[in-house]
């Protein structure tokens, strides 16, 4: 799960990590009051107005404005609020800005980069830093991988002080600043582990003109599997940043991701679901979604999944591809029949069943009298659904 910058910073702050003074603004008129309070407290006219969306590249897209004074802050806020912000990560339609962060301006001496994530190849948490702060780290990694410094952490010991020092001194930091950076990294690791984060990225991590180390930006994502033990993090979910059908799917514990093709897919198992998308593409059409109904799906869950698929106007055909293991084919058949009875069927439906209780499931579908095309294997099914959909187009 992703959260906004201002939320991530509030979490960092709880772990004693230094952040600029900032106030989140949730309505269009709020920027001036926030700016006024910050200017009063800091005795500095410079403030930064930052659009809060779950996508990077906000600066280049015009979502970060450095301004002087209350009026200019409000003007910048008004320009952003409620309007789409387009960055290289949002797609051409952009994201509507519904939250802002107003922050104190900071006199920057140096911009660095720091992040913590899981290195899956080594099954270890890794702390990474780079002197190339403020830049796209993927670009840095591609052009000059040697400029990225890493320390892998033994989870039984945690990030050792010497490892944090290694990174700080390797960045060329000296004296008190090196000490501050060391302390920063140690606390950042503590926060990462305590919150079950999957990524914490501070870009840029700045050294201020007065020698402080500060998280100027922060991106955090969390392990969905651990959210249940972090209620305070789970509550930070912003449904405006998520696809409404995905939100609906999550209620029924369905793994659903919206895509932009024309063939709705309902599959059991994540790998088979991905492979089903691939085989649809192979036969010349595009999947409208990724949907894994899971191993232990009930008839109700299957019905809900089917409704989600048919509610998408972009869906011109549906392919149900099931290899029953724990999941029984008759449960799938029952769910499909119930859903069609309730909401009707406006597009062609192709069903391929294999595995546990396949005979019962197939018989149920045949006896339902519904206009369902059955398939013998997944290639047959994919071919049939693609043909039916392209036939409708012509």
């Amino acid at each position: 799960m992703k959260i906004h910058e201002y939320q991530a910073k509030s979490l960092l702050s709880k772990f004693g990590l230094p952040i600029p003074m900032g106030i989140a603004v949730l309505e269009v008129g709020g920027a001036s009051a926030a700016a006024e309070k910050i200017i009063q407290t800091t005795q500095n006219e410079t403030v930064v107005v930052k659009a809060q969306i779950h996508a990077g590249g906000r600066g280049k897209g015009g979502g970060v404005k450095v301004v002087k004074g209350v009026a200019a802050a409000q003007e910048a806020g008004t320009k952003m609020f409620g309007k789409p912000l387009v960055t290289h990560q949002t797609g051409p339609e952009g994201r509507i800005v519904k939250r802002l962060l107003v922050e104190q301006g900071v006199a920057i001496a140096r911009e660095l980069y720091a992040s913590i994530l899981v290195d899956r190849a080594r099954s270890r948490v890794v702390v990474m830093v780079s002197a190339a702060g403020g830049m796209d780290i993927e670009e840095v990694a591609a052009k000059s991988p040697e400029s990225i410094l890493m320390e892998h952490v033994d989870p039984t010991l945690g990030l050792a002080a010497f490892q944090a020092r290694n990174l700080a001194y390797a960045l060329g930091l000296k004296d008190q600043v090196a000490k501050n950076a060391t302390a920063f990294l140690l606390k950042l690791y503590e926060a990462f582990m305590a919150l079950d984060a999957s990524l914490v990225e501070i870009n840029p991590l700045v050294i201020t003109a007065d020698q402080r180390v500060l998280a100027l930006d922060c991106k955090m994502t969390f392990d969905d599997n651990a959210l249940e033990r972090h209620k305070e993090v789970a509550e930070m979910r912003d449904l405006d940043e998520e696809d409404p059908t995905e939100t609906e799917a999550r209620k029924f514990d369905l793994n659903f991701i919206k895509l932009d093709g024309s063939i709705g897919c309902m599959v059991n198992g994540a790998g088979l679901a991905m492979a089903t998308m691939d085989i649809i593409k192979y036969f010349g059409a595009s999947p409208a979604n990724f949907l894994d109904v899971g191993g232990g799906a009930t008839k109700e869950k299957v019905t809900a999944a089917f409704k989600i698929l048919t509610s998408d106007p972009g869906v011109k055909g549906i392919f149900v591809n099931i290899f029953g293991g724990i999941m029984k084919c008759d449960v799938i058949a029952g769910g499909v029949i119930a859903a069609v009875a309730e909401i009707g069927l406006r597009v062609p439906l192709v069903v391929r069943l294999a595995g546990t209780n396949v005979e019962i499931g197939t018989k149920m579908l045949a006896e339902s009298g519904l206009p369902i095309t059955t398939a013998t294997d997944m290639a047959d099914g994919a071919r049939k659904v693609v043909a039916l959909v392209s036939g409708r187009k012509n």
Binding site: V118, R120, A121, S123, R124, V125, E138, A141, A142, D154, P155, T156, M193, D196, S198, D223, D224, N225, A226, E228, R229, N255, I257, L259, V267, N268, G269, A270, G271, L272, A273, M274, A275, T276, M277, D278, I279, I280, K281, Y282, S286, P287, F290, D292, G295, G296, F323, G324, G325, I326, A354, G355, T356, D377, M378, A379, D380, A382
Partner: protein, 289 residues
Amino acid sequence: MAILANSQTRVVVQGLTGAAGSFHAKQMRDYGTVVVGGVTPGKGGTVVEGFPIYDTVAQAVKATGANASVIFVPPFGSADAILEAAGAGVELIVCITEGIPVLDMVRAKRAMEGKSCRLVGPNCPGVITPGAAKLGIMPGYIHKPGSVGIVSRSGTLTYEAAFQLTELGLGQSTAVGIGGDPVKGLDFIECLTLFEADPETKAILLIGEIGGTSEEDAAAFIKANVKKPVAAFVAGLTAPPGRRMGHAGAIISGGKGKASDKIAALQEAGIAIAPTPAELGKTMAKAMR
């Protein structure tokens, strides 16, 4: 022979008294697996579905001589269950549980370092040596004793592969679902090593998916070390970047982990690639000719 599991394997089921645990313990026993008992703290001394229950894995091992464990414990308790099995001297630990926090697995893997036991999973269908032992949740009847070793990151795609090989008459020596999580036990390379050394395995079918670089690592390993024919399939060619496709490990980020890169690496190593998931068996058969 085969790998990991055979008719001598003595299985204890952790979490046997839960719904999934008891259902699959029975299924495994019905398949012919030697299931010697279950472990649920607080329920030691009882008998469930004919299985004696113990409070700890250590007690179960002492009483039954179990040398393998299959875990059906809820996600937040699973890392501890893995360590309990490892601590009790169990040689093969198969963790079925889906949804274990990644950092729990980071800690568990660290704690298992230096121990001789093997972990399969988590978030996997398990291990089956057809006709001998089934340690997991896969439907037994789609398998058949044979010559192809399967190693896969996906559960249902493993079934798809096994079924296709069975229909072609090739069957399987052992099928191993290594699981879809980013931090897990046995990886492709360890499985490939075992299959290469196993005289009953004549060829290997590898099924990968987006995320990480384990398919690329496997490709390099196969090129240097595996003499047996290998076929492969990689799921997720159409997956959009940055999205988690069900499996926590199946996410493409930072330009790494793309299916096309994995396929290119495997092809470069001379491995036959199934063009679609409907041709896993055929591609394997062709590579064996």
